[in-house]
Subunit: 144 residues, 2 copies
């Protein structure tokens, strides 16, 4: 569904948000450990999220990553997916035609757009703050 990079990005942002709620800035090392991701690869993804103003990065000693309380309310999952995977999910045709195009649709188009729209709506309506809700009380997990 999403690329590995995007999956790591979603998990990382969620973990940062959760810790930011407690006022804790977190390091790359801690993030990679808590979401079970390759550390150097995760660094690249966090750089990208930082450039897209999705997470805030602080360099130097005692630095790390954080997300402000107001940001994690406004920030939807779609922003993260857009930043990492681009619009392939929304624009791509289910059968792999160059782009999805209702004027010259592929045979699954009408059924596929419904599913894709549901996915899009879910991503656009789910905030990072919501993502943290179950995590804190141990109902949901970012690693097993």
């Amino acid at each position: 569904m999403f690329s590995k990079a995007c999956e790591y990005g979603l998990r990382a942002a969620t973990y940062i948000a959760m810790q930011s709620l407690d006022g804790r800035r977190v390091s790359l090392k801690e993030i990679a450990d808590k979401i079970d991701s390759p550390i150097a690869f995760t660094a690249k993804i966090l750089q990208l999220l930082s450039k897209n103003n999705i997470v805030e990065s602080v360099k130097g000693a005692y630095g790390g990553f954080e997300i402000s309380r107001t940001q994690m309310d406004k920030l939807k999952l779609s922003a993260i997916v857009d930043a990492i995977d681009g619009d392939t999910i929304y624009a791509g045709c289910g059968l792999g035609l160059k782009e999805c195009n209702a004027d010259k649709p592929c045979p699954v188009h009408s059924k596929f757009v419904d599913i894709r729209n549901d996915l899009r709506e879910m991503l656009e309506n789910t905030s990072l703050y919501e993502m943290t809700a179950g995590l804190e009380v141990g109902l949901t997990f970012l690693k097993r």
Copy 2:
């Protein structure tokens, strides 16, 4: 969403089904041309579909690929996706945890399963025969 291989497989099977409706057995070359796919790669995919009894292959001169009328009614898109991409779509977690597991769900699990189930149902309920309907009358396309 699907791998390139799977997209080619779905398009190829659909084209074969459509031609089989007219009693025409089609060659690899024709298929690749009509669905705009790399010929040798498409050959691999058709081998796989043939081994999984999704298409029938006939070797030698005047050979090619075909799908019987009864088969294209029974055959659902899910069979093709299963054969090529396996169960990653159904079993995979939206955030990339090892497997999707309701007992230790990720933060998007509850929302994600609904979308994934819709996709699964669509694939399981759409027959290859249905796929050919719009194609013959020029309402849908396998290439642009």
